[in-house]
Amino acid sequence: MPPKSALVCQRCGVVVRRQTGERSLQPSWALATTGLFLIVLANVNPILTFDVAGNTQSNLIISGVLDLFGQGYWPVAALVFFAGIAGPALHLASVWYVAAACCLSLRWPGLHRAAKLAEVMESWNLVPVYAVATVVAVVKLDMLGTVAWQTGAFWVLALSLCSLLAVQSFDRGLVEKRLEELT
């Protein structure tokens, strides 16, 4: 295939294979590593504080899950937990596993399964959506009391950028090609 070309299905218009050239999975590896650290930071630092008449309350991603659970809405709590914490962690961990194996040329077990998991979990990494929801929450709460951003908000923003870039760089065709070369 000539450089910068792509193989497109004539019938349905899906890109079957893109000429990947010498691109490697190193950016994915780096982004996934950063992302895994950011997940920890985004989950242990409060995101915002809300203040009404001197009474202050701050929140973590997990505190929303726990309070929903406490109010008896466990399915909603489970959904928030999965899409806000477990999904992103699984997604970045599987991207990390596959990208690291490809970069180091190591035949780690279950690479194809991990690549499949990364693909499925991609649509469950909803940290960017969570970041938007935080902005909406701040706007809403601002009408009722005093809201202040905390450091966690910064980590959530960084994590969502990192996730979006990891999705971009973890190109499916590229991954398949590298895995073929490896195994």
């Binding site: 019938r11 349905c12 009404v52 929303g64 399915p75 649509s123 706007v139």
Partner: protein, 167 residues
């Protein structure tokens, strides 16, 4: 063939369930906000209205798109795709539509996340409290139904036709 039949039935069941649950999801309040004794039950649309009224039109627009338009379009698009199953018309466009539905779909999680944040910070006793209401449950259920339906009805199935392939 039996596998794709099962997938088709699964997707149909999920979309019908989603359509039914879409009604209570939008009629019932998602949460009750009590601020300094002022009790206010909020539906999804009510929340948008409130944002718009306070002069925050862009944010109201984002929430309106993500929580009302996206779920509805998603259900409509999926129903159309399922009704067209087996036909040889517009297959290319149907494939593109399915891909769009799959990528845009998760944005309606904005509302569920918003609920979780408000519930978490709204635990200030009599001063301000936020209580989740059944609407949120239905809203989450619609979301899960559509996500799994678009997962289940995969792009290969668009290309399965009863008639022989015309080239």
């Amino acid at each position: 063939m039996s596998d794709s039949n099962r997938r088709l039935q699964m997707a149909q069941a999920l979309v019908v369930t989603g359509l039914i649950l879409y009604v209570p999801a939008n009629v019932l309040p998602v949460m009750t906000m009590t601020v300094v004794g002022d009790v206010e039950p909020l539906t999804v649309l009510g929340g948008v209205q409130e944002l718009y009224d306070s002069g925050l039109a862009p944010i109201a627009g984002v929430v309106f798109l993500a929580s009302i338009v996206v779920p509805f379009c998603k259900l409509a698009a999926l129903s159309w795709l399922l009704l067209m199953h087996g036909s040889a018309r517009w297959q290319r466009q149907r494939g593109a539509l399915r891909r769009i539905v799959h990528t845009v779909g998760s944005w309606s999680m904005v509302d569920i996340f918003l609920l979780s944040i408000l519930v978490a910070v709204g635990q200030l006793g009599v001063l301000a409290s936020v209580q989740a209401e059944p609407g949120g449950l239905f809203f989450a259920a619609v979301l899960v139904c559509t996500l799994f339906a678009s997962e289940s009805y995969n792009s290969l199935m668009i290309w399965q036709t009863k008639e022989p392939l015309a080239t």
